[in-house]
Amino acid sequence: MILGAILKRKPALLGLVIIVLFVAMAILAPWLAPYDPTVTPDITLLHPLAPDTQFWFGTDLLGRDFLSRLIYGARATLIIGVLANGIAVAIGALIGVTAGYLRGQVGSLLMRFTDLMMAFPALLLAILLAAMFNPSIWIVVMVIAMVSWVQIARVVYAETISLAEREYVTAVRAAGASTLRILFRHILPHLVPTLIVWGTLGIATTSLFEATLSFLGIGVQPPTPSWGNMVNENQTYFESAPWLVFLPGAAIGLLALSFNLIGDALRDILDPTLRGRH
């Protein structure tokens, strides 16, 4: 039903098509990519090769085929973008909702912890975590989720407080509903629009944060490509070979935009008060 509704909306359909293409690209990378993205040819380049018929998108400084790297890069970027964001939204929502509904000492404790996390430099935490575990894409996902849930928790907390004071919450309490029922049936559904916005906006910031981590050597480990670390690696050639920065940047932008389009549509589809107005 939701899929059907998405298919009826042109912007959301466009978003869906782009995401499906990206996912297909990630899965089918070994067959799609013309070259191995990690292999450096046995020649010394002084600067990246411009796009030509042999290398459609040119090469980077090390002579690796940029198109192949872009195709393979979708893997890490999608995993990190979707998973890290998903985890961050889940943790943020859970902590925010609990603190906002229960208030009192439990609420204060949770929110002080959130504030502490917020005040703690994200990069320092990331370096700490990365140092404790062997670097791998899963660690990167965890690190990013650990530092990005904080803002979500704050926003959800504030919204829950106002939702909890609505009369319909009192009404279901008066009917005898348990706290869990109120939280999951009557408060969380109202937070869906907020969570969708944060979740989709997060895709872009997450990719760039991953790039920062890669830059510090604790992100996706070279030579494995990700769109974020491709932007980062090549930014020094921004003037001489702008496509090296522009192409992965555009890919990140396109991914974030697609999620945003779907998110917008989902928000409308899930809101019964807007139903029947399209």
Binding site: A177, P272, R277
Partner: protein, 595 residues
């Protein structure tokens, strides 16, 4: 400046039409409305919700919501200029200078972070070009004119430090400070308590006598119309269906809508119309409340220490019999809603609440188990003031009605659906509507849905907290009739919480008047409303607006009105406050009065 003589036409509105954009195309909300306003008079625009009365005011002020609202035709001539064609700059000069407006909710119309004095002088400096000190003197004068206590101190206070009535006085002072020719008042007393409403209406009449400002009063309350209006325009769905002087309109109505509107207004007849009170000794009480007390701590400061305490309810006692309606009446802050919530165990309370004679289910709310709470809520259910707010907008009404059954694990899904259909038929809706969402219903239908939900568990008692005060009078009458029908049929008892004496008289067998968290007078409705003994009850009854303009000049009415002064008492007390408890004098027949 042309001086207007009393009786000259000040504002001439001709053929005003307003459209609002909607997803289904433009909707005409005002259709060729014409009226005029004469200098020095009070014109009431009366009508129910959706009649377009507020939109009329906003159009005249150039404040229609943009984008969306659009004036399609018509003119509104004020001192030779058409208000509808003036530019924003010109309108902003007129607003607050020649034409002022006050709104329903004085708290949201005042800026909460600016001092009252700053807000009062702002307009004077801007519109009249006064210096700060001149403006301050004028502001002080204006506050004096609205009879606010300690005007000097009010200037330095913030809106939240004032009571609702004082805030509305400040709004009026603000509106009148520039000595406008026209004051548009949009439901200025609807959010206020009756005694404060009486004071504000009185104040507006006095100010009008002193300044000669013409007033356009927008209201849904025919009682208010009878008290203040010189002439009336009755609106229905954007059209003026009837106009005339107040006396004419109340004496003969030409349009059936006006007749229906007046007929639906519950008339207050000093208790004579109230149903007979049942015999308190005949049966076992359904609810027996002993020494119920609810207090809230107000924490603040650096260490979150208790700074004040709200003594919401103080050791009250009452009984509710089967098939009986007990009304709790009083003004805001008197503890009536808190009493209802304590009964539902929605707020922590001390004291004893026996339901069907069963031993008290624990002493304090905190110690009750979920199972115990569920057992209570199966027998006592609640309906609220705002039916839209009390229905989760993301659930279908069918799901909302069966939710209590799911919570209490009653029946199979099939049986629940059948029950929902049966409940819907019972409250006058059709089972086909079960799959719709709350926003697709009208206010009255939503309250029916809330009643259906409350009935789902077959409760013995329903706590109705101001359950008709947000509804139009005609709908109000239907909901009250439904509640009475259900009472006769199912033997339901109601704890009916209301501030509206006319509604209370109509539905309740017995009444308890609350003030400062205690019951000051209680007894059969006929006795209490017919022969009020406590000064507070007398004051409350004197403030009830009566839809009969002839009474405005009656001597006893004028005398009664003198009693209405002062603020609604606040339940906030210092931490070391010990309340003194009332003792009762028995007047016979269950009529008790605080001595």
């Amino acid at each position: 400046m042309i001086l207007q003589k009393s009786g000259d036409i000040l504002l001439d509105v001709r053929g005003l039409s307003v459209e609002f954009a909607s997803p289904r195309g433009a909707v005409r909300v005002i259709d060729k409305l014409s009226f005029d306003l004469r200098a020095g008079e009070t014109l009431c625009i009366a009508g129910e919700s959706g009649s377009g009365k507020s939109v009329t005011a906003l159009s005249l002020m150039g404040l229609l919501p943009k984008p969306g609202g659009r004036i399609t035709e018509g003119s509104a001539h004020f001192l030779g200029r058409d208000l509808l064609t003036q530019g924003e700059r010109e309108m902003s000069r007129l607003r607050g200078n020649e034409i002022s407006m006050i709104f329903q909710e004085p708290m949201t119309s005042l800026n909460p972070v600016l001092r009252v004095g700053t807000q009062l002088t702002e307009g004077l400096v801007r519109h009249l070009g006064l210096s700060q000190s001149e403006a301050r003197a004028r502001a002080l004068q204006a506050l004096d004119a609205v009879r606010i206590s300690e005007p000097q101190r009010r200037l330095t206070q913030y809106p939240h430090e004032l009571s609702g009535g004082m805030r509305q006085r400040v709004m009026i002072a603000m509106a009148m400070a520039a000595r406008p020719k026209i004051l548009i008042a949009d439901e200025p007393t609807t959010a206020l308590d009756v005694t404060i409403q009486a004071q504000i209406l009185e104040l507006m009449a006095t100010l009008q006598r002193e300044t000669g400002t013409a007033i356009i009063m927008i209201t849904h309350d025919m009682g208010v119309v009878a008290e203040i209006a010189d002439r009336v325009v009755v609106m229905k769905k954007g059209e003026a269906v009837e106009r005339g002087t107040t006396a004419e309109i109340f004496a003969h109505q030409h349009h059936p809508y006006t007749r229906a509107l007046l007929a639906a207004v519950p008339t207050f007849s000093q208790g004579a119309a109230a149903p007979m009170a049942p015999d308190l000794t005949a049966a076992k009480p359904l609810i027996d409340v002993t020494d119920l007390t609810v207090r809230f701590d107000v924490k603040g400061g650096f260490l979150q220490r208790v700074q004040q305490r709200v003594h919401a309810v103080e050791k009250i006692n009452f009984k509710v019999m089967p098939s009986e309606t007990l009304a709790l009446v009083g003004e805001s802050g008197c503890g009536k809603s808190t009493t209802g919530r304590a009964l539902m165990h929605l707020v922590p309370s001390v004291g004893e609440i026996r339901i069907e004679g069963e031993a008290a289910l624990g002493q304090s709310w905190g110690r009750k188990s979920t199972a115990e709470l569920k057992a209570i809520r199966r027998r006592v259910q609640m309906i609220f003031q705002d039916p839209l707010a009390s229905l989760d907008p993301r659930m279908s009404v069918g799901d909302l009605v069966i939710e209590p059954l799911i919570i209490h694990n009653i029946g199979t899904p099939q049986q629940r659906r059948e029950k929902a259909a049966e409940l819907f038929r019972r409250v006058g809706l059709t089972p086909e509507q079960l799959s719709r969402f709350p926003h697709e219903f009208s206010g009255g239908q939503r309250q029916r849905i809330c009643i259906a939900r409350a009935l789902a568990l077959n409760p013995k008692v329903i706590v109705a907290d101001e359950c008709v005060s947000a509804l139009d009078v005609s709908i109000q009458a239907q909901i009250l009739a439904l509640m009475q029908e259900l009472q006769d049929e199912l033997g339901l008892a109601y704890l009916f919480i209301s501030h509206d004496m006319a509604v209370v008289e109509r539905i309740s067998h017995r009444v308890a008047v609350m003030s400062m968290g205690q019951i000051v007078e209680t007894g059969p409705t006929r006795a209490v409303l017919g022969n009020p003994q406590h000064p507070y009850t007398q004051k409350l009854l004197a403030a009830v607006p009566i839809p009969d303009p002839a009474r405005r000049h009656a001597e006893d009415w004028q005398r009664n009105r003198q009693r209405i002064e002062g603020e609604v008492p606040s339940p906030f007390q210092s931490v070391d406050f010990t309340p003194s408890y009332v003792t009762y004098r028995d007047l016979g027949g269950g009529h008790l009065v605080a001595a």
